[in-house]
Symmetry: C2
Subunit: 216 residues, 2 copies
């Protein structure tokens, strides 16, 4: 699979992540092949959508067979650059930060949180999941020492920009921001926002809508 | 604002959630009006996109002025059905469940987690953020007693379907599933999946892509 495709829509990346999850569950259950119709049904998308999403990376699927589960997992992971380990630094050891540090799926999926940082002197030195919390001012030194490429921001919103600044100055090229605040970064640094409130909004909206329809 | 619009794309709902976040931060900082260009810049979208998203709900903005911050917040919230309190039940008191129970933003945004459920006898009776963990078998009774409309699933993946079944049997009409597993629900129940791995995938992908381009 080539990564030379200039632009992959983020909705496609979102669906590719779902395909990987579903394929890995299928593999765990012993499936070796899956038809595009069956995969589409589990992922709740059209079979043509799956073919279109995979077409960004090349030709997949075998006529009359479908997809080889393991091959497809390998290909998607390779194409997304997630067929290797990514060392991450987490900044902000609050409730959410602690939960992520203890979340076993990060390691399983290749994202190793190897550094935990906070500026609160009461948190520095604390050990969470075998990781000692370090002062955020030492980010630069630690990023180099631990070969960290990605930053995870779990600070309160008002401290997200400062955390981003520390991470960018330390040389990190990509950030996943869980704090509910927009942040500014220089060109060449990539930011993803995790906002699960829009999922709550969508549920609220759909319940409201269905109640209105049933009242009509 | 009318909710009669039959289908609002989920990308629109996702962006509306960002607009609300940004507008609330602006309001906190004392802004009363904002131009669509300025709002667009902070949200990192095109001004025409904002106008298009808001057009689902009616006419907004004042020529030569822009948007009145408070009015726009009120209108978006009303249109999404989030101008009121939604009582939620959380099932699965692990690390992520605990972090969500302690997350102050839920209450601020109108999503009140009023029940915490787990089937682990060692967790039942524990009090987290003033909430006593209750056996999942008591969901039905509690959903009625506490007027719960929404379920939040934070179980391990293999227990997500069972949690969904309990919640649906109890009468909950919408679910936000944080467990990395697809779940099946009857028609009339709405499910949202929270999967922040796709954000990590997107960062990994974009770093990989930019490194490949710089090597060329």
């Amino acid at each position: 699979m080539s990564l030379k495709s200039q632009h992959i829509p983020r909705a496609t990346i979102q669906r590719l992540a779902v395909y990987v999850e579903v394929l890995e569950n299928l593999k765990r259950d012993g499936s070796e092949v899956i038809s595009s119709e069956h995969l589409a049904r589990i992922c709740a998308v059209n079979p043509s959508q799956i073919r279109k999403d995979l077409a960004y990376f090349g030709e997949f699927g075998v006529r009359g067979v479908g997809y080889y589960v393991q091959d497809l997992i390998t290909s998607i992971k390779e194409s997304l650059g997630i067929n290797r380990v990514w060392n991450c630094a987490l900044v902000g050891v609050g409730n959410l930060g602690r939960a992520l540090l203890r979340h076993k799926f990060f390691k399983q999926r290749g994202f190793h949180i190897v550094g935990a940082f906070d500026c609160d002197p009461f948190k520095i030195g604390e050990v969470i999941s075998g990781l000692e919390v370090v002062c955020s001012r030492r980010l630069k030194e630690k990023v180099q020492e631990l070969n960290i490429e990605m930053g995870v921001i779990t600070t309160p919103p008002e401290r997200a920009q400062r955390a981003a600044n520390y991470l960018v100055e330390a040389g990190v090229k990509g950030l996943v921001n869980f704090a509910p605040a927009r942040i500014t970064v220089p060109a060449g640094v990539y930011v993803e926002y995790v906002d699960f409130f829009h999922n709550f909004f969508a549920v609220a909206f759909n319940i409201t809508l269905s109640e209105q329809i049933s009242e009509e």
